[in-house]
Every structure is written in C-alpha cells, then in structure tokens.
Amino acid sequence: MSFKMILIFCLWVTVLFSQTDWEKWGKANVSYEMTRDSGQRNYSISGDNAGQIFLKSAVVVYWLFISDVDGDNCPFSPTCSSFFLQSVKETNIIQGTFMFADRFTRDMDIFGRMSHYPIARNKHFYDPPSLYTLDESKIKYISAGVAVNK
C-alpha cells in the first residue's frame, strides 16, 4: 500500500512541476515580408526651397502614376527617384542631376551589379548618394555582396 502511495506521490510531483511546453514553444509573431523602399515613401510635397519643392512634386507624380503602378522594380536601394531627391538635397540641383545621370547609366548595367554593390535589407543593391558627392570623407566603403542593415 505504502509503495503505491510513494508511486502516486512521485507521479503527482512530476505532473505538478512538469514543463509547460505550450508556453516555451509558443508561436512567435515573426514577419517574413521583405521591406520595400516604395512602402516607406514620403509623399508630402516639401523642400528647403522652390526648386526642391518643384522637384519633389515631379517625383511624387512619377511615384503615384508610374512607379507605384509598375511595382518594386528598381534594383537599387534607395531607388533611382529617391536617389535623385537625396542627391539634390545633399548637394545642389546641377551636381544632383549629374549623380542621377550616372546612377541611371549604372542602372542599365545588368552585368556588373553582383560584383559591385553591397546588399541592402530589402535584397536590393545598396547604393547611397553619399558615395558620389565627390567628398572623400563621406565615402564609407562596403565590400560587394556584404549584407547591410539599411
């Protein structure tokens, strides 16, 4: 009788302190969606001067009627249109236009991309305007193919 009691006691203790697996291995709310540059766009018409406001207006029209309809197709991060806006903001309209023209040409080069650019979080080629302002102090070189948290 006492042997059975000991067994029942052991079983009871095991049940009482058993691991609650359903809590330990509970479902985590993880998002597997890739981030999109186009999803983080600021559509407000703003700028430091009249030229920037005009440019932003033109780019917003492009985003609304062409880019957003076309989808997330620019291989770069930031996208070419965002690159143009950021370039003009960082430098001036003339230099920014040159930077955009150079980016546009590089965008057409489908052969050398993989061996040239780091990879942004959204799996696009990371190519910020700061590399092209002709200010050496702003160049932060990152090797090609390296994943960057941008």
Binding site: M1, S2, F3, I6, Q95, T97, F98, M99, F100, A101, D102, F104, T105, R106, M108, D109, F111, G112, H116, L131, Y132, T133, L134, E136, I139, Y141, S143
Partner: protein, 277 residues
Amino acid sequence: MKNILLPFLFLTLLQGISYSQDVNLYSKENRKQFADYLYCQKDYLRAVNEYEEVPGLAASDTIRFKIGLAYLKMGDYDSASVNFSQIGSNSFFYNDAQAEFFKSQFLSGNYGSLNTENGNYTSVKQLKSFAYLFDYEPLPSKEIFISPFEGNERGKLSDFYDRKTNPPYKSELTAALLSTIIPGLGKIYTKEYSDGIIAFLVTGLMGYIAYTDFKANHKFREWLFTGLTAFFYGGNIYGSAASAQIYNAQVNFRLSSDMKLFLEEKDYFVPDYEFCK
C-alpha cells in the same frame, strides 16, 4: 518487501541529512573557480564580476591579469589598460601585462603611448611600426620600419609598406578627362568595365538618334535627344571621377583589412596564454 522499503528510504534520507556537506558557495576558492569557468566559457562580463568579488583580489596578480584580458576581449580597452598597469614589476605576469597594456593602447588608437622607455619590448616595437601604417606619424624608412620583424613577417610588412607609400590609386581628373574624350573610358580606367561599355553605348545611341533627328529636321525630337545625350555624357564624366574616388577608398579599405587580419592572426604580437586547458 513493502515492510523493508519504507525504513530503507527513511534511513537513506537520514544519512543524507546527517552527512550532508556544508558547502559555502561564496568561498574564495569557489568564486574563483566559477569565475575561471565563466572566463573559459568566454562569458567575460560575468567572469569579471565574479573575479571582482573574490576576497583578497589585490594580492592576486593572476586574477588582475585575467580581468585585464577579459576587458580586452570585450573591447573595453581603457579598463583593460587600467588593470594591466596595476600589475607590479615584481610580478610573474609583468612582461606579459606590459605587452597587453600596449596592445590595449594600440587598439584604442592611442599610438602616442607606444613612444615609451618600455618600447624595448619587441612586441611594442612591432605595434609601433603598425601604428605608422595607421597614419600615426609619417612613415620612417623601410629599413627602420621592418627592423623589428623577422623571417616571413618582413616580406609581409614590406608589402604593406609599399602599398601604403605607393597605393595604386586612380586619378579622378584622369578618369574625368578620359570620359570627356570617349564616354565610358574613365569608368574602364577605374576597372568598372561593364559600366564603361554601357555608358559608351547609351551616350553613343542618344547622340546618334539626335544626329539623325537633326538631319531629318524633327524639331522637338532633335533637342530632346540632344538633351539626353548631354545628360548621359555629363553624368558619365561626373560618375567617372566619383568612381575613381570609390576605387581609391576600396584600395585603402583592402590595405586596412589585410593589416587587421595580419594583426589578428599574429594576435598583436603578444604571447598566447593557456588559462583554459
């Protein structure tokens, strides 16, 4: 059977209680042992906390040295330097502590501290040579630079010296001029071959369309494509200069990476300690 089991269990329990060891988990030996375990598990932060709690710490230069090493591994170079500098000259670890102190100073970028009377240590001299490569002061002559090193290391250091003194930079002006003469040539000069070819084709195509439009007297299109030609032509000249800058940044980055890899491989010229056999 049942009558025996209960007394047996009771006796076992009684014996366990009667002869149980009175363990002081916070004794000096136990804390040190646990700290050593954490150190060998590379749990340096908690190891330091445990070492700091060991009674009579001031008397133990081994613990002080290991605290310094733990801080060094964690990248807290200032705290590491403080601990290494507290180890006296009569200690067994004095020479090693000095070497580790200068390693900490080197890693924190305080290259000036390598100019010291203690610079007689080979490792300090070697670190000082590397400090020159990290733009501490103008480089000395090659002979002086490689003198602290021996054997294969000399060849490697000689290579670093050459890459530092004569980096294979590309001229931004040359790149821009080349692209002015032939679109894309500046990019090819900076080894962006596919970019250069694409720039040549795009600018050439736009120019050709503009030319045929002028010939056909298409009033709007001739100026549209002339503008586009100028857009790509100007962009390519600018981009070639920018490309040369990026190329030069890449040259610096590679030299710096190679030097850091070499230093890590050599563990900054300090000896290896066998605390975790």
